[in-house]
């Protein structure tokens, strides 16, 4: 259990760094979804199924979708520089 928790904590740290370091917004969406997944796993290991569930719904689905839709809106814009 100890090892698993430690690994998951490190995974979360890496996933967070992944979001920051993926400077291209398109790639960042994947990183955000990955971070959501890492947090979901961590929360389940911390015996928080309710929170893991919402993180799954929000962090891996709704939030990346929001970023995606926002990015599409920006790219639809004529003056786009992306």
């Amino acid at each position: 259990m100890t090892i698993l928790l430690a690994l998951l904590l490190l995974l979360t740290a890496a996933a967070g760094a992944g979001i920051v370091l993926s400077r291209d917004p398109r790639r960042q969406i994947l990183a955000i979804a990955g971070n959501g997944l890492a947090l979901t796993l961590l929360f389940s290991a911390l015996q928080a199924p309710d929170v893991a569930f919402s993180e799954l719904a929000v962090g891996t689905a709704a939030l990346p979708l929001l970023f995606l839709v926002a990015l599409v809106s920006v790219r639809t814009d004529r003056k786009s520089d992306l």
């Binding site: 259990m1 100890t2 928790l5 430690a6 904590l9 490190l10 979360t12 740290a13 967070g16 760094a17 979001i19 920051v20 370091l21 400077r23 917004p25 960042q28 990183a31 955000i32 971070n35 947090l39 961590l42 929360f43 911390l46 015996q47 928080a48 199924p49 309710d50 929170v51 919402s54 993180e55 929000v58 962090g59 709704a62 939030l63 929001l66 970023f67 926002a70 990015l71 809106s73 920006v74 814009d77 003056k79 786009s80 520089d81 992306l82």
Partner: protein, 114 residues
């Protein structure tokens, strides 16, 4: 070591998120970094309420009275997740509109009114 790890991971997330915000050249990327800062708070809160060899605070198969982790912090994190998602939506809306007005998402290309 495991005793310190949760707090160090939380501090790391806070620090790397802030680094991302400070150096970001794209508002959408910056909003993603803000989410990293926020995930630090999830880690702190849930780790504070954790207890070795305890089950989830849901007494469905097992009867009430079995050792369980703290339900209060979990409720707080649920609230926190909503806050994060909604603030992100609001920020994205601001960024989309700003891009319409200015044609760029680079924070350093923007100068508010003096």
């Amino acid at each position: 070591m495991i005793a310190l790890l949760p707090w160090l991971v939380a501090a790391w997330l806070l620090g790397i998120g802030l680094y991302g915000i400070v150096t970001s050249r794209n508002y959408i990327h910056l909003i993603g970094c803000l989410n990293v800062v926020q995930s630090a708070t999830y880690v702190i809160l849930l780790c504070v309420g954790y207890r070795w060899n305890a089950g989830p605070p849901i007494f469905d198969p097992h009867p009430p009275g079995t050792p369980a982790v703290d339900p209060v912090v979990q409720a707080l994190v649920l609230t926190d997740i909503v806050i994060g998602a909604t603030v992100a939506a609001l920020l994205l809306a601001l960024a989309v509109q700003l891009h319409k007005r200015k044609g760029t998402l680079d924070p350093e290309a923007l100068r508010p009114m003096r």
